[in-house]
Amino acid sequence: MIDPPYPLFYTFNFYLFGVIALASSLAFVTRKSPIAAALWLVNTMFALAALYVMLDAHFIAAIQVLVYAGAIMVVFLFVIMLLNLGHPSEVADVRGKWGKAAAAVLGVILLAQIAVMSGSRVRPEWILPRGEMDRLLAEKGAIGVVADPLFTNYLLAFELTSVLLLIAIVGAVTLGRRSDVAAEATTGESVSAG
């Protein structure tokens, strides 16, 4: 990212992708069909990836497109297809009057809290010196900037992540199994008639 004052081109693109992200997320929560909602969410994620690039997080932007928009959303679409939920359901999906009122009140409270918090100031010694991040990016490259702390300061957390993923795999396989198969496995009987 360029230090202020920002060029017009940069500011324009930043606002453009911000508005795209905001509009797609609004479309996402208001669509009735789950497929349309999922595709609007993918659009939001692409706009966010563009914002990451503009904020100098190139590697995170690539991961956002590959993992979030690619892998996770494909799993969502796959489940929607598997459960045959592609059509808007006959039952009213959106909650009634009281649910909407509660959501509106909570949303306003949340925004007010964030507005109050935005008035707070951080300690100046926490802020990197001007141009420090540019120097790091030029020295290590976009991936090195992330990889360096990941494999030194956060190595333990990184290794624990693999345990988390293993548990998630085991949990997903156990939950996703059909119940008759699971019953056979617990009683220890082998399948005799196929």
Partner: protein
């Protein structure tokens, strides 16, 4: 651009919360949670510009947790759908007394 990015992040998070509250489809509620995680990621990335690259490492971990959560959560939804033939949360009231 830090203030704009944080404001966008706050707006996206609020949209996610409102989505969780007004929808009844379990899969859409689940996607709203993903939207909230994305909003948090945006503020991490925006702040990492000023406070060092550690924020980007946290985004990495958040994405890992989101992937694990999506796998387990969708397995739970499939398993509920097998029993109740619906993903509408109004009909899933097993814990109600």
């Amino acid at each position: 651009m830090l203030a704009e990015a944080l404001a966008l992040s706050a707006a996206l998070f609020t949209i996610g919360v409102v989505g969780v509250l007004i929808r009844r489809n379990a899969i859409i509620i689940f996607m709203c949670v993903e939207l909230m995680l994305n909003a948090v990621n945006l503020s991490f990335v925006a702040l990492s510009r000023y406070y060092g690259a550690d924020g980007q490492v946290f985004v990495f971990f958040v994405m890992t947790v989101a992937a694990a959560e999506a796998a387990v959560g969708l397995a739970i939804i499939i398993s509920i759908f097998r029993h109740r033939k619906t993903v509408n949360l109004q009909n899933i009231n097993l814990l109600r007394g």
